[in-house]
Each structure stands twice: as structure tokens, then as C-alpha cells.
Symmetry: D2
Subunit: 288 residues, 4 copies
């Protein structure tokens, strides 16, 4: 029996860089960048020989230095960074760069957009994760913190009953979730901004319009809508908590609650996770 | 020397109620309600005699039951609840009801607002805090989580120097903050929604347009703008962290950073707190 | 009607300093320091004249520089810092320095305490808050994050009933809380460490041993125990959420639940706040 | 091109159950249980046919009902639950049950352990994750939130230099991390409590005593120590952030800082992740 090193990676996580592009109107890019490198790093683990190690401090510096050039979309910036680590450091066999972008909206003053004042635009963030090896690249984009609710148009019934089932069936419930969506592109010849905007629109519109018999059905319909409309997207992974809204029993107070007053519960919550993919797409576990 | 009970209060905190008003178009009201009662509660502290105690569970029930009726603005709902506890329970000499409202926006489908599907509208919340005693009432409204940034139009110089000063003066810095604003109304004959909308607009526009020599100056200007325009507001309290954005030194990499690449730091942070008030307004510490 | 500046303060919040005292055995002090200064700061608010302003960056530097000397207890360190700002800067009329200390425990190796390796000692933190003006000083100490639970020895009954009461009375419930305790000293000739250790011990032991008819009664008994035993403490303020543990109804599954299986709920929660003080003690609102 | 459902799972997350075992001395078990089921669930995704779906509400009920029987260690409880879902519901082909246990310590009163009063024992949690399919079972145990620091005995030098390197080499730094450790057992004939206690002890002692040339080296040594001593453990995965403690430059204040005063930074942080395994162990990705 020999003990040995298995999978490993390391890097600088959560470098928070804000890039201002100056001019008559300033532009703002707010990114939190996390880097993970894998490759020929056995020596540092086994003997403390760091000669192959690119310090995480250097990785942080690289993020700031690269942000001096025009950043582009977060997919572009992640690609530049990931390629750099793989190409400039022989020991690095795989670099993954994950970026979360906080959107900001221009402040409106007297009906006009202000040239250099901004307000944080919501709790939703844009995500990109690029994985590069010496001979392959994968781009995953996504959104997180997109919280949706429909106050009708959702049922849950016909489910399996067992000894522990007490849930009554319902033909009308509140359905609420916080969508975490990540989709992998088939290639890189993509208009990242347009693809993201359309993917988001399709997710939200499908949630709104699809009559729901289960959150699983809603999840699949959302993913399917994206894949149907966007050929550049190979597969999409959705993680959607069921943020329960329980009808409060108001009978003890002589009141009838016809799906009007709800208690929003934090925990426990349902958690529905699923992938929607294409038949002709090869799996790419390394991309995630 | 005698030991005795001093100030005390108790109540149910963070009852999260979601009210759906049904119809051709559904309306959504998402409120987290916290109640604190003070009064003749010495007995429960000293002997465990609970005969005056309105259980916090009852308080929670009351929130849900009251939400069956039309809720109105959060100020209205807080007033109804606070008055109820003072008037229905003789032991209750002061009731404070604080509500945080999470706004939701209607989802747009094919360019049209959907009748019953919503998305969470940002990380900013609306606040109301109503304090009622047997003979007085105070209404405080506010907003929290309003994060603002200007990428120029902010200086910081001319400050006091001492043995521990290393900060260089600057004529151009990023100024970013998360505004927590609470304002007290002079009375209750107020259009709560309009007042809040205008207060928020004035805070944001003043932040954007006021050339800043210090965050204190910006804070005061923001409060002053609200008081000048809104006679129904007696005073306003602002708490504004200075969310530091530091210029990254790119010289080691042969790059010149002319206020373009910033490191956004979490901690430590400056914290600026101030009240803007009127000469002819009586202090009302009980309101806060 | 004239608009004017009301109460205001500013400072650097959450400077996280870790002080290592080297020697045969290292000592570790982990403190997060928040400073708030008040005084003659109208000019920066009204005109942006910063000549009185001690930058928050300087305050941060001062924390680090002062940590070079032996730190002592957090009360000592807060006193040194607060006195410095009041005495060295004429504009500063009041300085408040609040410190949260994270305790660390020495790692045991082969039964012996290691000279320079430590593990974080729990989620409870020690607090000190010192307020200095030109002619007065107040020291408040405390603890936060002390989570306690008793699985019996707690009742809740005999409370007021109204139209909204549904809670059944109980002679045996789980009582759980997270104690936030802050006590003010009558003077400064105090063994801070011993006083804190004893206050904590009395709080915990009283929680454990006092049969509880209400959380209010428990709170008062805890505060009373501290004041009875520690003459150097003038008053104590306790904030104690009622972290509800609900008995799960297992009847639908043919099981009898005799106070054995509980659902621990996050929100809403009861919140009980109270002060225990002495008859002969003057109020000191500025201290808090 | 056909769109199809890929990997999917669903379940109830974070059911917080507290089990009191009554007697002369009460025992307390505080568990947060998350369940994820996978299997024949295409119908609910594609058509909303829920006939195979075990509602997450039922899963929650099952957790509470199963907690009525003696719970044992969290590995035991997770095994009982996971086996139940696979064996009782034909559609369930894989059940994963993850439990986080919050330890509580008995309160000491007058030097004696109290029979039914407890205090929360730290911020570290015990983890178990059991995965069952029809013909296999895997047990993973772990700990999270174990924060360690050594104030000397750590170097970092000899690393790769590139255009973006500015970090100075050091022969003496503070090394701090929050260990997240998960280990997979080779089988189930294990004394879970003893194995966990010993794994934890070995992790902590190795961190303390191993002179560190890199956090990677420390990580590997910690994992190796566990595998060497515990044959029942097949592999161990460690995730260890480098919680940076930077030496503060006190030269501007005329002070010399010889590794005594540190600034503890939140973000960015290094993140070191690695697996230590055995040559003769088959990979078991499904277990994680």
C-alpha cells in the first residue's frame, strides 16, 4: 500500500477588481476573479520544492495587470487569463478562471444618464468560467441570484405516497426559486453579451409562462427553451431551490385564506438540480 | 444597593409574510416584520408571572391575520399593527413595528408585463419603523442596501496630519458607499409612497451631482436635499460606509495606472454617520 | 426653518489586527477594532473643509502602530486608543473604540500545549467598547455568540390570551438562545480578565440552573447573578433571541413524540432584551 | 439534434433536527440533513407526471420520524436514511444524504457537568455524506470550519518568478487556514466516532508540527498522516484557504515590525485543494 497525491489544484480566489474606462462617459466593470491551476505540482506537495509554483500573489497581480487592457466581456477576460497561465508556465496543465460580475446601472439625473455615477444593479450576478488545457478550451457562462416567483400557475399533485406523506395536493401554489444557471458553449465564436442576454430572457419568460406541474418540469422547460433558441449553447445546468411559501392557516382567527397570505420559509427547502443537453454533444466534465 | 430591572422590550422578530392580492393582475407584497413591546412587564422578569405577556407567537399570528386585509404601504401596515398592540393590551405602553420590504418587479414577456410572475427587484430594501405609545406616534421610513459609486468627482485632501498619517492626498478618487437612510416624518398626513420615491431620488441624484470633498460633505448634501424638498420630513439619519477602491500600483509591471484599475477592499472601511435636521424640530429619540 | 447638522460621527470600522508575542511560547491576540470619533466636524459636512478630519486611514495606522506595544486586555487597548484620539486631536470631543476579540486555543500535541500553533476557539467573541470624552471615560465589556440550550427545566404558560392566541401552554420545552451580553463597569480599577471570566461563568451557570418560567425571567436572573457577585459592574444589558425548537408532530407516522424530536427554526424568532441595573447607579447613555 | 434531460437530482435540503435523549442525563444531537435523490425521474421533467416523485416534504417527514429511533453517529443515521429511499422507492436509483452536525458541550456548574444544559461547542462542524445505490454504498466523513494558525514554522520561497511576481520570499510567516476535510471509508465496519476523532487529531497535530515550506506541503502531510494511521480510510480530500496575515509596515511610524503585528485579510485568499489517496484504491467519484 502506497500513499500518493491525487487530484489537486490551487490558486487565488476572489480578487475583486473594478475597472473604470474613462472618457466623456465612464464605463464600469466590477469583477471578482478566482483562479485555479492544476498540473505538475507534485514537488511542492511532497517535498516543499516550490520551483513550479506560480504564487497566488502573482496570480492576483496578473489579474490587475491584465485589467489595464480593455477587458471586454467576462468570458473574454477569463479566456485571456486562463490562456496566459497555461502558455506561460509549463507546469500548468489546466487553468480555470471563474469570474462573477456585479452589474451597475448608470444613475439617472433629471431624466438623463449620468456620465460617471452608478448604482449597483440588483443582487443577480453574471458568471463566466473558462477552463484551458494545452489543447482544449471550454467556456461556461451563467447567472446566479435570479430570484423568481409566480403567484399562480403552479400545481403539485399526483406524486408518490408513502408512510411518511402528509403533504396535501394542490392545484394552485406559489412557486418561487433562485435560479443558478450555467451553460457551456459549443465553441468560442460567440457574441457573449447577446447570448447571455437571450439565455436570461428565455429562462425568465419560460418560468413565467410555462404552467408548472412540478419545479422539475419548469426547470427542464427553461433549459429546453435556451437550447432550442441558442445553437451556440451545448448544454445547460440549472440549480433551483424551491423557496417554499406556505399558506397560513387563518381559520383560528375566523378568516378564510384563499391563497392570499403566505409564510416564506428559509429552511428546509427543496433543491432541484438538472442538466438539459443535446444528443450530439460530447460530455465535457472538465469544463465545470 | 438594590438590583432592579431597567429598560426592556420583547417581541417577535423577522416574521416573513408575503401577501398576494389576486385579480386579473396579481399584486405582491413581501414584508419581514419585527415587533418590540415595552411596558408593564416587570412581573415576568422578576417572578415568571406571564399574565401580562402577549406571547411572541401571538404577535406572529397577528401579523398574518392583519395581512388578510389590504396591506397598503408598509408605513400603513406598521401603524395598524403598532396601534393594535398598544390599544388592545393595557400592559403594552410602547409598541415598535419595523418592516423591511423586498420589492419585486413584474416579469416582462414579449414586451408586456406578466399578470402573476415576478422577479426580485434588487438588493435594496424599503424600511418603515412605527413607534406608538398611548399618546404619541412616530413614523420613520427608510431604505437600505442602496449601493452607489462615482468614478470621478470626488477629492480627499486638506485633512489633519499627525504622526500616523501616510495617506496621500487625492483630487480624483472613486467614491463608493452603501446608503442606509432613515427619515422621520413630522406627522402622518403623508403620501408614503411618493415621499419615499422622492427621498430616494434626491439622495441618489445628489450623490451623483455633488462634487465631493469628503464623504461627510456628500452625506450632508444628500440629507439637506431631502429636507429642502420634503417639508413632511423632520429629520434624516444617514449611515454611509466608505467602500474603499484603491488604485492598484501597476508600475512593477511597467504599466501606468491612471485611475483605471482598482482593488475593491472589504475591510476595514470608513463609516460615516450623520443626522440632518431642522432648527424647529423637537428631538424624538423614542422614534428610532 | 433652517436645516442644520445634527449628531454625527465617523471612523474606521473593522480593522482586523493579529498580534503575535514571540518567545519560547508565542502568544496570540486577534482583534477587530472599530473607531468612531465625534466633535468639531461641522466644517467637513458643510463646506468640505477637512482641516479637522483625522482620516480613517490614519486611524487604521494608529491601531497597527499601537499594537506594537504590549496590548494587554482588549479593554486596556481600547482605552489607550480612545484616549489618544481625544487627547491628540482637539476637534475630537468623543472617541469610541469597540473591539471584538476572537479567542484562539493552543493546539495540544501528544498531550502538551504547542508553543506556536493555535486553533480558533469557538464562535463566541469577547467585546470591549470604551468611550472617552475630555472629562469622562466609560468601559463596557461583553460577550457575543454564546449559544445556550437547556432540554428541560423551562415552562411557558399563564400568558395573556387574545383573539390571535393559538400557542398551547407548556410545562416542558427546549429553551435555546444566543446570548449577547454587555456590561458597564463603575470604574476602571478592574481586573478585566477576571471580571469577564466570572461574568461569563455566572451567566452560563444561571442559565443552566434557574428553572425558567419565561425567557425574560431567565434573562433577569442571569443579569442579577452578575451584579450580585461583581460590585465593579454597574449595569448589564442582555439581548437574547428565543431560538425556537418546536416539537415535531409524529402522530401521522404512528409515533409518539414526548419532547424528543425537535425542529429548530431560524425565523421568525422571539427577541428578549433587558437591562439589569442598580438603584444607586447614574444612567450613562453615552457609554453604549 | 435532439434536446434531452441529462444528470438530475432533487431533494429536501437543510432539515434542521435536534434530538434529545432523555434520562438522568440528557443527550443532544443537532443535525442539519440534506437529501438528494436521482433515478427514474424523467417523467416529471418532461411532462409533469409526478407519479415517481417522493415529495421533498415527505423526505423531511422521514428525517423527523427516523430521528425518533436512536440516532447513533451521523454516519449511521445517514446510512439508515439513504438505504430507506433506495429500497422503498423503486424510482430512486441513488440517494445521497449529507449531514452536518453541530457539537454541543455540557455546561459545567460548580465543577460538574449539568444533566440537561448545553453550550454550543465552537464553529467547527462534523460532516457525513452517504451515497447509496441498489448495489453499492459509500460513506464519506469530514469536518469543516476547523481554523488553524501557526505563528512561525512556515516559509514560502523558491517559487517560480515571472513578469508579475512582486511577492518577497520569506523564511518566517504566519500560516492560517480553515480546514475542510472529507475522507472516504473503504468499508462500513468502522467505529465512526473513533475514526473521526483520530483523523481530526492527526490533521491538527500535523499542521502544528510539520515545518511548512508551502501550504501544499502541509496539506499533503496532513492527509498522509491520516492515511498512514487509519487503514479504514481510503482517501482524503482537503480544501484549505490560505488566510493571509500580512506583516504591517510600521517603518513610517519609526517602529520595527519583526513579525509581530499582522493585518488579517479577508479577500482575496489563496485556495489550496488536494486529494491524498492510496495506490490500491479504486476511484469512487459517485461518493462525493
Amino acid at each position: 500500500m502506497t500513499i500518493r497525491l491525487g487530484d489537486n489544484q490551487y490558486g487565488k480566489a476572489e480578487t475583486h477588481v473594478v475597472r473604470v474606462t474613462r472618457g466623456a462617459k465612464h464605463e464600469l466593470k466590477d469583477m471578482t476573479v478566482s483562479i485555479a491551476l492544476a498540473g505538475d505540482f507534485a514537488a511542492t506537495h511532497l517535498t516543499g520544492d516550490n520551483s513550479h509554483v506560480v504564487p497566488t500573489d502573482t496570480q492576483k497581480n496578473t489579474v490587475f495587470a491584465f485589467a489595464k487592457d480593455p477587458v471586454g466581456e467576462i468570458e473574454d477576460f477569463a479566456l485571456r487569463l486562463a490562456r496566459h497561465f497555461v502558455s506561460d508556465h509549463r507546469a500548468v496543465q489546466r487553468a480555470r478562471v471563474a469570474i462573477a460580475e456585479q452589474p451597475w446601472a448608470r444613475i439617472t439625473v433629471a431624466g438623463r444618464p449620468h456620465p460617471h455615477a452608478f448604482e449597483k444593479d440588483g443582487s443577480e450576478q453574471r458568471l463566466a468560467a473558462v477552463t484551458c488545457t494545452e489543447d482544449s478550451e471550454w467556456v461556461v457562462s451563467g447567472i446566479t441570484g435570479l430570484t423568481l416567483l409566480k403567484s399562480t400557475g403552479s400545481e403539485f399533485r399526483g406524486y408518490r405516497q408513502d408512510h411518511y406523506t402528509t403533504l396535501p395536493e394542490t392545484r394552485d401554489r406559489v412557486l418561487a426559486t433562485a435560479v443558478d444557471a450555467r451553460w457551456r458553449y459549443a465553441g468560442e465564436d460567440v457574441d457573449w453579451m447577446a447570448a447571455r442576454r437571450e439565455a436570461r430572457r428565455l429562462l425568465v419568460e419560460t418560468f413565467a409562462t410555462k404552467h408548472s406541474l412540478s419545479l422539475q418540469q419548469t426547470l427542464y422547460a427553461m433549459g429546453e427553451a435556451v437550447l432550442e433558441a441558442r445553437p451556440e449553447i451545448a448544454e445547460i445546468r440549472l440549480s433551483m431551490p424551491n423557496k417554499h411559501h406556505f399558506v397560513v392557516d387563518l381559520q383560528p382567527f375566523g378568516l378564510n385564506n384563499e391563497n392570499e397570505v403566505f409564510y416564506a420559509s428559509d429552511r428546509p427547502y427543496g433543491l432541484i438540480e438538472g442538466t438539459v443537453t443535446r444528443d450530439d454533444v460530447e460530455p465535457a466534465d472538465q469544463a465545470w
